[in-house]
Amino acid sequence: MKKPSRYLILLLGLLGLLFAGMASAQSQALTGTVEGVTKSATPIVVVPFAQAGGAPLATDIADVMRNDFNRSGKFRSLAKSEIVENPSKGADINFATWRLLKQDYITVGRISDAGGGMLKVEYELWDVNRQQSLLAQAYTAPAGDLRSVAHQIADAIYEKITGVRGAFWTRISYITAVGTGNNTTYSLIVADSDGYNPQVVARSREALLSPAWSPDGSKIAYVSFESGNSAIYVQDITTGSRQLVSARAKGINGAPSFSPDGSKLALALSYEGNPEIYVMDLGSRQQTRLTNNLGIDTEPRWTPDGQSIIWTSDRSGRPQLYQMPATGGAADRITFQGQFNANASISYDGKQIAMVQGNGNVYRIAIMDRSLGGQVRFISPGPIDETPSFAPNASMLLYAASEGRRGVLYAVSADGLVRQRLVLADGDVREPAWGPYRQR
């Protein structure tokens, strides 16, 4: 029997992602073309950071940043091979060079020893055309945290240029399934937003599904079949301690979702006959039933203001999305286009709702802009796409797809034009959930 790989590293890539060192017999570099073109993407050059002495570092900060920028769809960063000069300070930048290369922005930086095992990382962001300094900051961190530093720098630059908070320094969770049939091992994983630094949160011989982040990023609620039937757990991802939240012997214990203040969990339970939406107060464990009809009611999601719940119901025939007050009340149907609409992910501002839309045998990720009525735009090609999850700034989404008999994830820009594939070296990956912003 094959033992599941210890390093369930999601390897992936866009421009310039280097992992020759990690390449094993089980991996190979392919050549491809990014689907679609982003004409509006802003050109930016990230010059390799200069290093003052010391052993070569395992993390190439500029490389991590380039990868972040490229997969966002908002930027296209100049390939490392085309970076002809290597300034590390603003004073050394030869702007004519970068104007010739049609770059709008340039980032330069340097790494030095800060003593006590710490490194000092300094960077500057310059506007190439105006020859103007836009940002100059420094971070102190151990060498093992340089990827985090790179993501934080990318976030600061992203925000400076776009006006929108960056979401590169965030984490994602997902479920992996390795092995076949009764020899399948399921793992709940938490990793950096680019798939690096995966850590196993929970492992089971039976299916795991529906991970949902607490608003502070400290816990994940999920469904596990490890005891035979479905049960809902809330697990602290740092300490590993977990609580059994719902394990009704009869029926489904499913679809957990934290309220925006973290005090409650919305769930789908069927012990009273068929799946209905409930809200549980996590302090008192008191439970309130919000729906009552013969259809399947599941996949509850809180609106960001905590006032409403949007969920999936097939009370009108096929599944559609509905909205009701978070205390219960009248159900308003909110999707009318498409035969099947389910599994909502709501953007931080409540303006966009991503969902799985099925028409015939094709299931794609659709985004409905609520200010534009019921119109949706598709951001994935199908045919078996599911589980959309917005990044906390709504600039990107994760979703799961099937390729042959294998499950893969995609990170896609919110306009659907730039797509990054995330695959597991051996096995399925599914059920992505993008975590909240991290606190420094």
């Binding site: 992602l17 190979q28 392919l30 479905s230």
Partner: protein
């Protein structure tokens, strides 16, 4: 800008091939016009646990469904009848009905759909004389497919309720 980029990817291992060559077909397949070896006959002829392995009707423990449907198709009524009779004949017998769906639709919605199918089989067994106390229903949604191709032939095998005897 023409944007050909290098995409570094992990090799697609042939896990899929291994997965599907090993697919466990659930047998027996639905056989609408099957003539039962033992016609459920009056009182004197009670089922015994041995019949679960030998009786042509009782050996059929999978009920298949149409897409997004949970009605019991006519060809499975006979199976409902013989398993209900077994439950009647063996009051200590217990069965678990495991509901499954095909891959289309979301995981949580499919948990609901699989449960509906399990409940439909439960109702059919009860209307044929089985007791509710002998039957439990669990849904696995689309988590336990027997076939992993993306086509109707495969999907039709996954839309099922498996009848599992937990006490004979």
């Amino acid at each position: 800008m023409n944007k050909t980029v290098r995409v570094a990817l992990v090799a697609l291992l042939c896990v899929g091939a291994a997965a599907c060559s090993k697919k466990q077909e659930v047998k027996p397949q639905p056989a609408p016009e099957q003539a039962p070896v033992t016609t459920p006959a009056p009182v004197s002829n009670k089922f015994t646990p041995a019949d679960l392995d030998t009786d042509a009707c009782l050996r059929q423990r999978v009920v298949y469904f149409d897409f997004d449907k949970y009605e019991i198709r006519p060809e499975f009524q006979q199976i409902m009848a013989c398993h209900a009779k077994y439950l009647q004949d063996r009051p200590m017998a217990q069965i678990r009905l495991e509901g499954h769906t095909d891959e289309r639709g979301t995981r949580e919605y499919n948990l609901g759909l699989g449960e509906r199918r399990g409940n439909a089989v439960s109702s059919a067994l009860q209307s044929n004389g089985g007791s509710a106390s002998q039957i439990s229903v669990i849904s696995f949604g689309k988590e336990k497919p027997v076939c992993r191709e993306h086509n109707e032939d495969c999907w039709s095998k996954n839309r099922r309720v498996e009848i599992v005897y937990t006490a004979k």
